[in-house]
């Protein structure tokens, strides 16, 4: 398409210049050069005339279009608007917004005030040290401090919220023709990953009925977006109970699916195109159908539960860990670690930006708890174990006669300089659906932020997939960072979904440049389109697992909503020994790819398993909170062939166990209400005789492998309950219990006890109250910074966009980069770099900002706002959720 003329300039480039010239958009040297060429080249003049012919016609077409005015009532309403409540987007705290927008700070004033405010604030924090329990921890902590750029989800004030897809429920009860049934089913067989997954979901509804004991989704959670109402087909499936293998069940499940797909046809036009293309070819015989069903049932068994489905999005099951008595095999509880935070990030996105309560299946409580920074000390430098284990037991706030045990593991930190050489391959989804502001453009910025963190020894390759898979950039050392950045900038979304070989190509790249003893990782970035070349989920997982054995791991970055396959992304990253993060903003990208980069890239312990050995003397019954899909068989604890989660550098993992002490009535608990409360006297006696007299409430057994090892190491940490009451709980304990309470409410857990949003909020702020004045300062500070960010970003935008922007103005911009809103700022700088006049300065600004980002990512010694900021954001999240529920 691009041909070169004599000057070596691509022909379309000249034409674009002519167009810009005709529209008065060409300036500077380009304009002079073009005018010179116009003088000497008649052909160009003709071209210009032709362009002007069209632009003139366009102007006249638009000028003669009929126009409409507002109605007089509307005009009145606008003029009354001063006194009207803001009607546009309902914010949780409109007064905040008004207050700060009303301030109308100028950039310079805001900047100066901020500088004055900052030391004042810092000294305030130090003064608080004698009253704040956590201050020691804060002072000791060498962890990265919060930067004011970090996500303040509670105060999304920009008028131009990014666009996010809404989920539209399937068209329930619509007549479904056999034609549609065939269409959907065929796509399934013909290797479409997406439909394949949803097909499984439909089948899994069958098992749902059988799982009712363990609790199920209640539709009442979904206040803002009702789930697809079950058509009759689904009901039939449920009647089938767990047996779900009959031809008839298959049919009804798929009929259901077909209507869902059709119901959302308007949303996924590309999917629909695929469907209609495939529709012709299909015929499934009974045998194939049975095979499919069989394989799906196997997979279902692995998953262990039903999967929730919303439009084209899928989320995991809604199983809740039950209470167990510490008898027999249940004396032990075994679980794999999980350091992901995607579920919290996704949930925050839904609550704060989409105004909907997340579906229960999307709330993995462990990921919510693990999204926060705790103050557990990392292991001593000479410690044998690569992570520390901190334990605390106190009252369970939602059932105060129960005990709650918090176990915190904290991996050692690795500075960027100490990180081994890294070989990364980005596997990037560039299908048409990625063409949204919160997908590919955000992905590009995220990758650039990551690349800026890498050291010269590190290398990066890029493979894209959509219509066709291809190597967008051969593996390149980060000494040529500019080239990598340019390649990232060149990515564009578009194309179909019949690609093949993307994932193989990515792993080939990774293996070709394999760094022995280094970090070798494929990073898959997608909005849910898994047509990476292997469409059978099982085959894909097998492929990734094999590659894991060769030392190449997989991490997954999720973007956007609407087509999101949360459960599948999580599983793939688990299989690939990787992390899974959901990136909804540049702030989150910064958190995952800059602040926690070492942890994201570098595994310090793999296959980390935790086994709790409960002492029946202190434990009548127990249950683990969260980690539902991480539960392992007790026997697998010592089976080193069994894969488990990994811990990255600096990662923290928290486990919560709720314990019912002896003597407390358990008759009201779901497990025990229907059964005879009295166990067999023989078992009871045998137990009583065999209990070892110990003061220990439980012993935590940890088992892990070194990152390159095959042999596991085992460590034990005992815990004695000192009978503390909530008043004596640490801030970390109280806060983790707040997150658990909120999570149980969202998950509609039958074990939530007295948990409510207000309990969660009071716990979250009770913990905060221990900071005393510090906390209030922080709140003010956060409010202030957030307001300033927007005001300043606005100012910067103007100065950058101004035609006559001077270097002095840019200098002031540079000085202000400490307090700005990144999304706005980056967009503005991007625009300025595209303008040749402002490009040199804009590039300088960008470099300066990225440098600053990197510095903040590595942290300032001795100061850590991160926990406070995260917790303040969490409180705002609860407040918003409360307002949504009303």
């Amino acid at each position: 398409m691009i041909t070169n003329n004599d000057n070596g300039t691509p022909e379309w480039d000249v034409d674009a210049q002519l167009t810009a010239y005709a529209l008065g958009e060409l300036e500077g040297d380009d304009k002079i050069a073009l005018e010179a060429r116009l003088e000497s080249e008649p052909a160009l003049r003709d071209q210009l005339e032709s362009i002007r012919g069209v632009t003139a016609q366009l102007e006249s077409v638009f000028a003669t279009e009929p126009t409409h005015a507002l109605t007089s009532a509307q005009r009145d309403a606008i003029e009354q608007g001063e006194h009207a409540a803001p009607i546009i987007e309902v914010k949780p705290n409109p007064w905040r917004l008004n207050r700060w927008l009303g301030v109308g700070v100028t950039a310079a004033a805001a900047c100066v005030t901020f500088i004055l405010f900052m030391p004042n604030f810092l000294s305030g924090e130090r003064e608080a040290s004698d009253v704040a329990i956590m201050t020691d921890d804060v002072a000791d902590s060498a962890m990265a401090p919060g930067s004011d750029r970090d996500s303040m989800v509670g105060l999304q004030m920009s008028a131009d919220l990014e666009s996010y897809s809404n989920i539209v429920p399937g068209a329930a009860g619509e007549g479904v023709t056999s034609d549609q049934f065939v269409g959907v089913a065929t796509t399934d067989v013909s290797d479409s990953g997406d439909v394949d997954v949803t097909g499984v979901n439909a089948l899994e509804i069958d098992i749902d009925g059988a799982l009712s004991e363990q609790g199920r989704t209640s539709p009442s959670v979904f206040t803002s977006t009702p789930p697809p109402s079950p058509p009759s087909g689904r009901a039939a499936g449920q009647r089938g109970g767990g047996s779900g293998g009959s031809h008839n069940n298959f049919m009804t499940a798929y009929t259901d699916e077909a209507s869902d797909v059709r119901g959302s046809s308007g949303l996924a036009s590309s999917d629909m195109r695929d469907l209609s293309n495939e529709r012709q070819k299909v015929v499934i015989d009974d045998e194939t159908r049975e095979k499919l069903l069989e394989s799906q049932r196997r997979r279902e068994a692995q998953l262990g539960a039903a999967v929730q489905k919303f439009g084209q999005e899928t989320y995991g099951d809604v199983v809740h860990n039950p209470f167990k008595r510490p008898i027999g095999d249940d004396m032990l509880s075994t679980v794999s670690v999980d350091v992901d935070r995607a579920s919290y990030s996704l949930g925050t996105q839904m609550i704060m930006q989409q105004n909907r309560i997340p579906p229960a299946g999307a709330v993995r409580i462990e990921e919510w708890i693990n999204s926060f920074t705790y103050n557990d000390a990392p292991p001593a430098e000479d410690a044998e174990t690569p992570f520390s284990c901190t334990m605390e037991v106190n009252q369970a706030p939602w059932a105060t006669n129960h005990r709650l045990v918090r176990i915190g593991l904290k991996g050692y930190e690795v500075a960027a300089d100490d990180r081994p050489a890294t070989n990364l391959v980005f596997l990037i989804d560039v299908s048409g659906s990625m063409n949204q502001p919160n997908k590919l453009p955000l992905l590009q910025r995220s990758l650039k932020a990551l690349v800026n963190e890498l050291t010269p020894d590190d290398r990066v390759a890029m493979v894209t997939y959509a219509g066709n898979a291809g190597v967008a950039m051969e593996s390149t050392f980060c000494t040529r960072r500019d080239q990598i950045i340019r390649s990232i900038d060149r990515l564009t979304a578009g194309g179909g979904t019949n690609g093949a070989g993307g994932i193989q190509l990515a792993y080939e790249q990774a293996q070709k440049h394999f760094i022995e003893g280094g970090i070798n990782r494929v990073i898959l970035a997608t909005d849910g389109d898994f047509n990476v070349g292997i469409s059978e989920t099982e085959a894909l997982e097998k492929f990734i697992a094999e590659k894991r054995e060769s030392g190449v791991y997989l991490s997954v970055l999720g973007f956007g909503t609407g087509n999101y396959k949360d459960d599948k992304m999580e599983r793939l990253s688990n299989v690939g020994n990787g992390n899974y993060a959901y990136i909804n903003s540049l702030d989150e990208a910064h958190e995952v790819l800059v602040r926690r980069l070492s942890g994201t890239l570098m595994t310090i312990a793999k296959d980390v398993k935790v086994q709790i050995d409960f002492n029946p003397k202190f434990v009548q019954a127990y249950r683990q909170i969260g980690y539902e899909n991480r539960v392992m068989a007790n026997a697998d604890f010592r089976n080193d062939r069994k894969d488990a989660g990994d811990i990255g550098a600096g990662h923290a993992v928290t486990f919560l166990y709720e314990v019912v002490p002896p003597g407390v009535d358990i008759g009201g608990l779901p497990e025990f209400e229907a059964t005879d409360a009295e166990p067999s006297e023989f078992i009871a006696e045998a137990e009583a005789e065999n209990i070892v007299d110990s003061d220990r409430m439980l012993v935590v057994r940890l088992r892990y492998k070194q990152p390159d090892g095959d042999e596991s190491v085992e460590r034990r940490f005992p815990l004695v309950d000192d009978g503390r009451m909530l008043d004596d709980a640490s801030a970390d304990f109280t806060f983790a219990s707040a997150v658990a309470a909120f999570g149980m409410v969202l998950r509609e857990s039958p074990y939530k006890g007295n948990s409510s949003m207000s309990l969660a909020k009071s716990l979250a702020t009770t913990g905060a109250d221990r900071f005393g004045q510090l906390q209030r300062d922080v709140e003010n500070y956060l409010d202030y910074v957030n307001a300033s960010k927007h005001a300043i970003a606005n100012e910067i935008a103007q100065s950058l966009l101004a035609e006559d922007c001077s270097p002095a103005e840019f200098a002031s911009v540079i000085a202000m980069t400490e307090t700005i809103d990144f999304d706005t700022f980056t967009r503005t700088v991007d625009q300025a770099t595209a303008n040749e006049e402002t490009a040199p300065l804009a590039t300088m600004v960008r470099d300066r900002v990225e440098l600053g980002l990197g510095e903040l990512g590595r942290g300032l010694p001795g100061l850590d706002f991160q926990p406070i900021k995260e917790r303040a954001a969490f409180v705002r999240l609860i407040e918003r959720a409360e307002s949504l529920q009303r």
């Binding site: 012919g53 003139a56 005015a69």
Partner: protein, 176 residues
Amino acid sequence: MTDKAGWIRAAVDQFERPLITYALRMTGELETARDVVQDTFLKLWLADQAGIEDHLAPWLYRVCRNRALDVLRKEGRMTTFDDDRLSACAPKGTPQQDNATGDHTLLDSMRTLPARQQEILRLKFQGGLTYKQIAEVMDLTASNVGFLIHTSIKALRDQLAPHGDQPGEAATGAAR
């Protein structure tokens, strides 16, 4: 009347018609378009006047656009910026201008362009926005806007070529 009220009134006078046309193009319904534009102007009350005064046009278009997309999304009429979907949302049966045969042909040709390109042309030739301002409205880079305008004008030229251009008449149209 406060200064701000006067300012907003002036903004309504100046922008209500082009904004409604723009919103109508996106939503396909006049009433919806009017509501969107009403909301857009109401947002001015919350905005910092000094902060947006000198780029009011792109600010209004951007807010209007996001509001229209919000409405479409809430109504479940689209989930993506898919060009095809936007085209499908285009108003049907908008009265066409028959005053000039050339325009009519051009209008037909324009409808064959991807919706995003149509939208950019509208912002450029009806809204009178610069590349940079369009970029601000649509969340693109200015160079991207330049490229898309060039692409769409190229396509229109190619389509119109058999019917002949009118270079002489056109030369005045774009002189600035």
